[in-house]
């Protein structure tokens, strides 16, 4: 499949074959572009393998797939990975900011929570499109406003009776010890009202991305409340 190309063409460098300020995007020439579109954050895609039934623990099942930092690379990943609709039951994809493990116990998640919605009619839910749109909203940074600082990652769970998509946040609207005095997520300089507004704004945006109707309720719950209740069906702290 390797095209027959000269040495010059196969090894693009910042040399004289093209004028140095000629900007070529993937739209101008998909095979020979020289600039790419940076993401605001680096993102890591993780996958949870379904348990084998041999007593494997969660840490062995949670695998880091790839980390990327450009729009072009995201599509290279997306176009070459198993669609959610073809995954086995008990699989998850997690797309998180680089350096954050998609677990409640991670230091950056342990004070946080999640907005989530279950699609109970699996056949009618266009899960591949829904998950793609949630990922695009995350990497395109359109879920939150400047300096909100709440988004940690997004997740899709494939289960017997439903698909569930979640949006994980850094806080549950409370001050996090050690987060400083600033107007940042978990900081003392952010009022309780603003913290709640930020979380509610995220929930509304998430609901919009999922194209849910007004009557379909998206719920927010804290991770530790979920942990203590022994299930992910903890009572919702907020709803939109």
């Amino acid at each position: 499949t390797k095209p027959n190309m000269s040495e010059d063409e196969t090894k693009p460098t910042n040399d004289s074959t093209k004028s140095e300020d000629e900007v070529v995007t993937v739209f101008h020439d998909p095979q020979n572009f020289n600039v790419k579109h940076p993401l605001m954050n680096e993102w890591t895609l993780w996958f949870t393998k379904p348990p084998s039934g041999k007593g494997d623990n969660w840490n062995e099942l949670l695998k880091e797939v790839v980390t990327f930092d450009s729009v072009e690379e995201f599509w290279g990943v997306y176009n070459n990975i198993t669609p959610t609709s073809e995954l086995a039951l008990k699989s998850d994809y997690h797309l998180f900011k680089k350096g954050v493990r998609p677990e409640w116990e991670d230091p950056q998640n342990k004070h946080g929570g999640k907005w989530s919605y279950q699609f109970k009619d699996k056949r009618s839910a266009p899960i591949d499109e829904l998950w793609l749109h949630v990922m695009l909203a995350a990497i395109g940074e359109t879920l939150e406003n400047d300096n909100d600082g709440e988004v940690m990652g997004v997740v899709v769970n494939v289960r017997k009776g439903f698909y569930r998509i979640g949006l994980w946040t850094k806080t549950t609207g409370k001050v996090i010890p050690g987060s400083g005095d600033g107007d940042v997520a978990g900081g003392k300089g952010r009022s309780a009202e603003k913290s709640k507004d930020v979380l509610m704004g995220l929930g509304k945006k998430f609901k919009e991305v999922l194209k849910l109707k007004d009557a379909e309720v998206v719920e927010f719950s804290g991770h530790t409340e979920s942990a203590h209740s022994g299930s992910t069906r903890a009572k919702a702290k907020f709803t939109v």
């Binding site: 063409e9 095979q31 940076p38 400047d146």
Partner: protein
């Protein structure tokens, strides 16, 4: 990775471009082909240099443009992480 696997395939021109391309610093300076909708400038009014927001419609335009595997060892990486769902022909 400092060493390349012996059996590694050559990167395709598209993957070569991905690796060598530089990150766009000033998105307002890019002129896109006529059939491509440019990023919404309203999203990036307060963005720091080289860090941009992108709307869904802009991002979806890349779907058919960058289609190749994002690394030389992608198939092995997928097999190790996501599993065998994608390669029914490979040996078990």
């Amino acid at each position: 990775d400092t060493t390349k696997p012996v059996e590694a395939a050559q990167p395709t021109p598209q993957l070569d471009s991905l690796r060598s391309a530089r990150m766009i610093q000033r998105i307002e300076d890019i002129s896109y082909p006529a059939d491509i909708a440019s990023p919404n400038p309203a999203l990036n009014r307060t963005a720091p240099m080289g860090k941009f927001r992108y709307g869904k419609d802009f991002l979806l335009q890349f779907e058919t443009k960058f289609t190749e595997k994002p690394s030389i060892n992608w198939d092995a990486r997928l097999k190790e992480t996501v599993g065998d769902t994608t390669e029914p022909s490979s040996a078990r």
